[in-house]
Amino acid sequence: MNNSTNKKIAYGVLLILALAAPFGLYPVFLMKMLCFALFACAFNLLIGYTGLLSFGHAAFFGGAGYVAGQALQAWGLPTEVGLLLGTAAGALIGLVMGLLAIRRQGIYFTMITLALAQMLYFVALQAPFTGGEDGLQGIPRGHLLGFIDLSNDLTMYYVVLAIVIAAFALIVRIIHSPFGQVLKAIKENEPRAISLGYDIDRYKLLAFVLSAALTGLAGSTKALVLGFETLTDVHWTMSGLVVLMTLVGGLGTTVGPIVGAVIIVMLENKLGDIGNWLASVTHIDWFSTLGDSVTIVTGFIFIVCVLSFRRGIVGEILHLFKRSSTAAH
């Protein structure tokens, strides 16, 4: 069995799981998971394939959510226009942030994205239309293209699934395009890419804007699904969370971020139950408070991943496959 049939089978299984999932699990929870999966994939386009670590992706995610929410709620625009506006907002914030951040390399790049995202956080805190601490409430789902009623959770789920699959296909296409190959070259050896005549700043900026736009799509879809948008989405912890999802799943692998997002979202939701179970097994009462201290656990996973699990789950599996296939030859 060669590599590409393996891949097709894996994608097929994922697709069947995704299609059948809402019959076993709560659709809104699944949609949230899908939005985060897209968020992580968009983020991975930057860190995994261009080698740029952004710590400011919350700005695109939450910023787009606010714009989409405002367009749907206050301006009463159609659903698809709201999503498009949110995506455009993500791209625009990405363009401004990217233009400033690519002026510095390495660790400075990360610090700049973090600082600029924090600036947007303060703007969201003070601006009149974001609702400050309360957030933007009651965003209507409306009708897609005028006739698909999205108030039904199951319909909404399949629409979100279609959006995420389309965006994922686009990301895979970008990675395998000549443009994606240049990005990989920049990641592997930047001076070499320059000496080959590539204007690397333009490539970096385009990758940054693409990642920001797709993150914007994820953010506005999430706002549409949940019907509200809050400061949590623009806070720096959200930027950290998407780094964690990608890291757990596997940096620079195609499906890794999806796996990571599913695990982290599930963990955040089920941590209370896990804590109660641990408390009943070990008789240590402290575990039952685990549900309130998600950050302790995410921090712990961060530390473990960085110290001993840098390939991530999917990366580790691929590595095993590669080793066994080279051993067979």
């Binding site: 660790i107 600036m119 950050t295």
Partner: protein, 294 residues
């Protein structure tokens, strides 16, 4: 007396508050720069260690009755030891990897420590009173100077410039600067570089904790005080560039003052002014005010 339509007293007191904040920026960015120079690690946990310094002081006073002056020495020592533990057990394994892993590790430490303190003390601040000797204010004629704030500025300036003196003017500092340039060569001369690295991290961390103790009576001691500050300090570091010790100190103080003045003239912008300055500096002089162009 008025200046630009603002009462002089209000202007000067905001200026002083700006200097107080600026001293915290200076001490934290100085520590970040020293650590980055030798370890090539951006210490995201710096804000959390500053918070730990403040909390150690608070815990010392409220559980053990140890007063401010002892804690000013003791807290940096305790937190510095904690830093050494982090370096010895975790950071050490990442030096050969890409710089981002150091940032991610210290980010994880931040989340964990902050989460633990939040689950114990909640998000509300704990009050810490100003030590008796520094209570009250001195009337200088043109303004009333709160004694404690004056002490904070004085103490941090002393610490910052002593650090500058040690690094730039002494033999120990010469080893440190050489280690920053070429650690392998320095090691070949028989200097214990790994020990130097550990102690440098410990020192940078202790500096953050010292700032934390100084900050405890000015702002309420809360688990979130560090992470809110560290992002501003990152912007300060981007503006100043990490190449120069004196540059870090001056940039930190200067930005604190600018922030204080913004609070007087246009309060809506006071939370974002440092980030706006960062954007402008990036456009005009990408390497930072004191950075060297590569």
């Amino acid at each position: 007396m008025e200046l630009f339509g603002i009462p002089l007293q209000a202007l000067l007191s905001q200026l002083l508050l700006g200097l107080v904040n600026g001293s915290f920026y200076a001490m934290l960015s100085l520590g970040l720069a020293v650590i980055f120079g030798l370890l090539n690690v951006i210490n995201f946990a710096h804000g959390t260690l500053y918070m730990l310094g403040a909390f150690t002081a608070w815990i010392g006073l409220s559980y053990f009755g140890i007063n401010y002056w002892f804690m000013l020495i003791l807290a940096p020592l305790i937190v510095g030891l904690f830093g050494i533990l982090i370096e010895k057990t975790m950071l050490r394994w990442l030096y050969k990897l890409d710089h981002v892993y150091g940032l991610l590790l210290t980010f994880g430490i931040t989340l964990m420590v902050e989460g633990i303190f939040r689950s114990i003390y909640g998000v509300s601040g704990q009050p810490y009173s100003v030590p008796d000797a520094l209570q009250g204010a001195t009337n200088l004629g043109f303004m009333v100077l709160p004694n404690y704030r004056a002490w904070v500025v004085l103490a941090s300036l002393t610490v910052c410039f002593s650090t500058w003196f040690v690094i730039e003017k002494t033999r120990l500092g010469a080893y440190l600067r050489a280690g920053t340039e070429n650690p392998k060569l320095v090691e070949a001369f028989g200097i214990n570089v790994p020990l130097m690295v550990t102690l440098t991290y410990g020192f940078g961390v202790a500096l953050a904790a010292f700032a934390g103790v100084l900050a405890a009576p000015v702002i309420q001691v809360s688990p979130l005080m560090g992470s809110n500050l560290i992002i501003v300090v990152f912007a300060v570091v981007v503006i100043g560039g990490m190449g120069s010790i004196l540059g870090s100190i001056l940039t930190g103080l200067g930005l604190g003052v600018v922030e204080g003045l913004t609070r007087v003239f246009y309060p809506e912008l006071s939370a974002t002014v440092v980030f706006i300055i960062m954007a402008i500096v990036l456009m005009i002089r990408p390497a930072g005010l004191f950075g060297k162009e590569k």
